[in-house]
């Protein structure tokens, strides 16, 4: 089985979010970049299929060379080969089109991406990719098994779960639950050494036109201070929630 894992390169979840260039660019100064957490759950599941069922695992990223350390980390975790399509990722649709063009030239049984990236929260690339390739798609995927040429995937829905059957190839949007947090792998020294020898191939983009673009970032207005209510005056809290906040 050949698995392609699509990874984003995002600011660590604890990063302070600031902007530069008149609030048109994200301020990367002092920011630690990591594999997008939702993608990492997917990658870990892919490595599980490699270890248990002999799958080949490739990772791919659409972006600039600044993401190469993230791709090396994926290789150190256990992926066999990395690709980077060398164009800045500005618009979800163009990223999906670049990935679709790559997949059309190669052969994969399963494509795993994250539910969403934690920077732009678009949750769009995996679905667009599946639709462009005209194959099945399961988002918010919290369980994945194979049975011959079929996959059994579980999707988290509002208030529950849905179990779905699809024919390969397919795309899933992974998240926590696909593997547990405790299953995530920290690369060991052997993995890091091996990763240096593994191929990281840079591919020229096809060059699609972007149709969405961020023109200005804004930070939320500073919040008013919290109103503290004494622990022995619950009536006051109820009054505030009813009359001031209007929420009960």
């Amino acid at each position: 089985m050949n698995i392609l894992v699509c990874v984003s390169h995002v600011p660590d979840t604890t990063s302070k979010i600031n902007f530069v260039e008149n609030d048109t660019q994200f301020d990367t100064n002092g920011v630690q970049f990591v594999i997008n957490p939702n993608d990492e759950f997917g990658l870990t599941r892919a490595i599980w299929f490699k270890e248990k069922q002999g799958a080949q695992v490739h990772v791919i990223h659409v972006g600039t060379a600044t993401a190469d350390p993230t791709l090396r980390k994926c290789l150190a975790i256990g992926a066999d080969k990395a690709y980077r399509i060398d164009t800045p990722a500005i618009d979800g649709m163009t990223v999906a089109k670049e990935l679709a063009a790559f997949v059309a030239d190669n052969s994969y049984d399963l494509i795993i991406a994250g539910r969403e990236s934690i920077d732009y929260n678009g949750a769009m690339v995996p679905g667009m990719l599946a639709a462009l390739l005209d194959i099945a798609f399961v988002p918010n995927c919290v369980g994945l098994e194979f049975d011959g040429n079929n996959a059994i995937a579980e999707r988290e829905i509002d208030g529950g779960r849905e179990k779905l059957k699809a024919t390969l190839p397919m795309v899933v949007g992974g998240q926590k639950g696909l593997v547990e947090e405790s299953d995530l792998k920290i690369p060991n020294m052997r993995g890091i050494m091996q990763a240096r020898q593994k191929p990281l191939e840079v591919i020229n983009p096809k060059g699609f036109e972007n149709t969405t673009k961020v023109v200005l970032f804004e930070k939320p207005a500073p919040k008013a201070d919290v109103k503290l209510v004494p622990a022995d005056d619950i009536d006051l809290l109820i009054e505030l929630l009813q009359k001031e906040a209007n929420v009960i």
Partner: protein
């Protein structure tokens, strides 16, 4: 040249979030001076959308009863093309976020989700959306022939503006599903984090799963959904689908009550979009107090049962 809105339904009934999507569609139609048409699937009472300014609904009756993103997207694609729709409006529910990327690919559209207001500019179409899990906003342009806007949950609100609404039941040729539903598990009658107006959430401060009756009892009085912090779900005290935060579920309710949650930056990001936040914590230095509207510094085991009893009395009066 018109606006098409996708109004979701479940068990033949419109979902609660259709009020917000319809209100947004109506307001956008006024702003852009266009028609607005709603498309629903197997909805019995689609004329209810008239309450929010919708004059015409195409109610599709031959698509699968159960939501199926692939086939529903093919139906919506048909209508986008046949009506010449230029602006597509849907919610940010799990189902809407499933279908929107498929629609965008089918129609080569520009798609922006998590939009919090009517467009700032008509030309080029510019919308304000949340990014970095609610830590910032990004004004984003959409410049395709078909532009899809995903309205952030509880961001625009429902605006009543009653008009006469005509529902046309229709049947459309659609693709065959590429997923087969094997089973669905859903707790019935329980408020969900996505849909509830109030969410009550517990953290490590509750010391163990055996103390969750504090959260559940308070939630029951308020008709609220229950949620938890990441450590609580990681330790297996509560199931994954209750985990709210950056890598869990986003929360954008009217009222979020956090009990014994210190307020890690990832948790705050996930719940920031909620309108009013109440924090109960015995540590006055807990970072959550800085992000809260109302706070009680006190022992949850003492405060929460009193709050539950008093709210019960309050609710029975009102």
């Amino acid at each position: 040249m018109s606006i098409l809105i996708f109004t979701e339904s479940e068990n033949n009934k419109l979902k609660r979030n259709t009020a917000e999507v319809a209100s947004y569609g109506t307001a956008l139609a006024e702003k852009l001076n266009k028609d607005c048409v709603a498309v629903s699937f197997n909805a019995d009472q689609a004329q209810e959308l008239g309450k929010y300014g919708i004059t015409k609904v195409l109610n599709v009756t031959n698509a699968p009863q159960q939501f199926d993103a692939h086939t529903y997207a093919s139906v919506l694609t048909h209508y986008i093309k046949s009506l010449g729709a230029t602006h597509i409006i849907l919610s940010s529910s799990a189902d809407a976020k499933f279908i929107a990327p498929l629609l965008a690919a089918n129609t080569n559209a520009a798609y922006v989700p998590n939009v919090v207001a009517l467009p700032l500019e008509k030309q080029p179409l510019t919308v304000k959306r949340t990014v970095f899990t609610n830590k910032a906003f990004a004004n984003t342009t959409l410049t395709a022939e078909v532009n899809i806007i995903g309205v952030g949950n509880n961001a625009f609100g429902a605006v009543e503006q009653a008009v006469n609404c005509v529902v046309e039941n229709t049947a459309v040729e659609h693709t065959v599903a590429n997923l087969e539903q094997l089973s669905i598990t859903k707790e019935s009658g329980k408020a969900t984090i996505a849909d509830a107006e109030v969410v009550v959430s517990g953290g490590r401060g509750l010391k163990g799963p055996e103390n969750w009756h504090l959260v559940e009892n308070l939630a029951e009085v308020l008709g609220a959904a229950t949620a938890c912090s990441k450590p609580v779900s990681d330790m297996g005290w509560r199931s994954h689908d209750e985990h709210v935060g950056q890598t869990g579920k986003p929360v954008s309710t009217n009222l979020y009550i956090a009990i014994g949650i210190s307020g890690a930056i990832q948790h705050l990001a996930g719940v920031n979009a909620s309108k009013v936040k109440v924090v109960i914590n015995n540590d006055p230095e807990a970072p959550f107090f800085k992000a809260a509207d109302y706070g009680i510094v006190g022992d949850a085991f003492e405060v929460v049962p009193v709050l539950t009893e008093k709210l019960k009395a309050f609710k029975s009066q009102s």
